[in-house]
Point group: C2
Chain length 173, copies 2
DNA sequence: GCATCGGTTCAAAAAATAATGAAACATCAG
DNA sequence: CTGATGTTTCATTATTTTTTGAACCGATGC
């Protein structure tokens, strides 16, 4: 399916004056990249998260870019993604205009938010479709076993939809 | 992240003598494709599953290829994937040499098998890494908060590993 | 044997996704 | 206002993943 191309071990050049990732940092990044891969989150995003996760201090934009050796665009988009999913927080250091970033306290909550954003929309979009398919099948007097299958699927989906908001309460924006 | 290219709505030409997917079938296929997409399962695989799911009869290789209008290679690989993940069963119709395929009775079980195969290996590979990262951090007297984070992560991971076989019992092959 | 059926494999082509970086934009300080 | 700073946008490029199809392989029947 997706044997996620291992070879990217070769380090990219870091921007001037920022040290590249150290072995332990690399290893953690690797872990996050792999996990993120399961849900199709791009590596640059996972790397940013890993870096913030292992850093004692909140880091600003340039630090992130410099240490990971990735482009401005990637950092910007990566942070946007992480922000949107409530996986990072900005702290405003006094004396500097640039926000610094750190992971939100609860990784669990972050994962929940992420799943939520991935799965829920799919379930929602599916609901009317499944309904239609089912009705159509019944209308044309389709095979009983098939109708039963479709029924189960549709019930599943709507139950999941009902439950979702309870288990994964949406943030109050 | 992955706005899964909608445009593939244009139907591919079906092989001679097999009708293309009907609207209801298309709609169901769409649903499965979307769901599969979340876990990075390729569309051809999802389409095959959807077709079997909505068909009253088990279908053979040529039927699948013909109705979906995809290549032999894709059908072969797709069926292999579905077999490997215990999502389809072959029934041998008497009088014909070719196996016919149908979905396994429990979609839930299938999903579990799929998740299992995706998540478990990642957790396993991660365990020693996380351990190393943690030890290293402690050894060099890293920031206490970071050590705490890493600890939690590592504990999480190993707990998940312990639990996994209980929740998702491996098949007896 | 050897020809045909049923598929599988795998290198090459096509499609999808992610990363880059220059230009555009927004905000703040003066 | 105006210039500098800090970030976002987005067309282009690079990378990765998926699909294709022809060559190949292993039955099975003759």
């Amino acid at each position: 399916m997706k044997p996620p191309s291992e070879k990217s071990a070769g380090r990219r050049p870091s921007a001037p004056s920022f040290p590249p990732l150290q072995p332990a940092e690399l290893e953690l990044a690797d872990f996050f990249v792999r996990m993120a891969g399961i849900l199709g989150v791009p590596r640059s995003v996972a790397e940013i998260y890993a870096l913030l996760y292992i850093s004692p201090e909140a880091l600003d934009f340039d630090h992130i870019q410099g240490r990971l050796g990735i482009s401005k665009g990637s950092v910007s988009q990566g942070l946007k993604f992480l922000r949107d999913h409530e996986m990072v927080l900005s702290v405003k250091h006094p004396g500097s205009r640039r926000p610094r970033w750190q992971p939100t306290p609860s990784l669990a909550a972050s994962l929940v938010a992420l799943l939520r954003s991935q799965v829920l929309p799919a379930l929602e979009r599916a609901q009317p479709s499944l309904q239609r398919v089912l009705t159509e099948a019944e209308a044309r007097g389709a095979d009983a076993a098939v109708i039963e299958r479709l029924n189960r699927l549709s019930r599943w989906n709507s139950r999941a939809l009902e439950l979702a908001p309870l288990l994964l309460p949406p943030p109050v924006p």
